[in-house]
Amino acid sequence: MTQVPNVFIALQRNEETRPIVDAILADNPGALLDEQPAMVKINVPGRLVVRRSTIEQEIGRDFDLQELHVNLITLTGHIDESDDEFVLSWVH
């Protein structure tokens, strides 16, 4: 059996990203959380989705997925984004 390659997203570790991280963990079963000093990295096999609606539930206000970039450090995979979802995967 071949291992599905991981995709990951790394965000700064602060008050603004906590709800985002919680939302990613809720939406991606199999996500592995790697908390480092000042940085939080989330590894997911194959496909990682960031859902706007889940983040909005966490923070109780409207959220624009572009706000992600304020605290984004780095990521891997191909990006497929809409107004509602920000998806990382190796599918091209």
Binding site: E15, R18, P19, Q36, P37, Q57, I59, G60, R61
Partner: protein, 330 residues
């Protein structure tokens, strides 16, 4: 010379306060909102019973017929504690200020259609007094309510109503002059169209049960009034004379959907707690929303003429849909 940079990972001994960890069930990082809310309500070591209510403690769960095992489940989805609340309002205020500046600097108030100006002033200025009533009721809920989760949010809503009253005052001064404020107060006290609404507001002042007060003010009255004033009447004035009034009422118009999220979350959590709570909320809501709709009818008539009935029915349907979504049988 070579310098090696090395990161040293220092894990904190604890992620949050002990009482927060107990509440969350684990020592994990908690949001500022949770840390500023949970366990803040005073529960023990009260000095003596208040002379104005010797039956109960200074802070007492029994001041409402609503019963909750844990009052902290009435959390605010906006997660407002003092810091986040003031920042959010400061941003809204900045927008509102620039809208007022815009109207002033372009002379939009002077060029506004005079018939529409009269209609707008006659309708919006007496609402200052309704907003002041909302301020008083929010203060009451906050003072006699139980559990920081709801009492802090009630106080914010109370201050917001005061802000709304001030914006309406400024609308009066910008579209008219000081005499308009006097005329608005006179209409509030004497004009037949305003008396049912004034009776509603004054009756709400003497509701003893603070949760019923929340139903009468935040669910029923605000739910209908804001839909009517800042959607229906606003749209009608726009059609007639352009969006000047919309700019001047931007704060209350944007405040309403945001605050509705909080109101709906409180209703949802309270109704989900027990069948008794649900039945009580349904009873209170049915009573107060019917009264509010009756009280608003002549005022809607004043602003919308023959379209009033339809507009009010639309607003009522929207509010009923909100409450049904929050779990009430309406």
């Amino acid at each position: 010379m070579q310098i090696d940079l090395r990161t040293v990972s220092i894990t904190p001994l604890r992620q949050t306060y002990n009482h927060i960890a107990d509440y969350l069930g684990a020592d994990k990082a908690a949001s500022r909102y949770v840390e500023a809310t949970m366990g803040v309500q005073g529960t023990t070591n009260f000095h003596y019973r208040p002379t104005w209510d010797p039956e109960r403690e200074m802070f007492d769960e029994r001041r409402t017929a609503i019963k909750m095992k844990d009052w902290y489940v009435l959390k605010d989805p906006r997660q407002y504690y003092y810091g986040s609340y003031t920042q959010a309002r400061a941003r809204m205020q900045e927008t509102a200020e620039s809208d007022f500046d815009f109207v002033e600097s372009r002379g939009l108030a002077e060029s506004y259609d005079d018939g529409a100006r009269r209609a707008a002033l006659d309708f919006y200025i007496p609402l200052r007094h309704v907003a002041w009533g909302g301020n008083l009721n929010g203060g009451y809920q906050s003072a006699y309510g139980y559990g920081t989760a709801i009492t802090q949010a009630s106080l914010y809503a109370s201050m917001d109503q005061l802000g709304i009253a001030q914006y309406l005052t400024r609308l009066g001064l910008l579209m008219g002059n000081e005499a308009e404020l006097e005329a608005g107060k006179h209409a509030w006290l004497n004009a037949p169209a305003w008396q049912p609404l004034r009776k509603y507001v004054e009756d709400s002042f003497v509701i003893k049960d603070w949760f019923e007060n929340f139903v009468a003010q935040n669910m029923a009255l605000d739910g209908l009034l804001f839909g009517l004033a800042y959607r229906e009447v606003d749209r009608k004035l726009n059609e007639r004379a352009g969006p000047t009034i919309s700019m001047l009422t931007r704060f209350p118009a944007e405040w309403f959907p945001e605050t509705s999220k909080w109101v709906d979350a409180v209703v949802k959590a309270t109704a989900a707690e027990s069948a008794e709570n649900k039945a009580l909320l349904e009873k209170w809501y049915a009573h107060w929303v019917a009264r509010a709709q009756e009280a608003l009818a002549p005022v809607a008539q004043l602003a919308l003429g023959e379209e009033a009935g339809e507009a009010l029915a639309r607003v009522r349907a929207q509010l009923d849909a909100r409450m049904a979504k929050a779990g009430l049988a309406v």
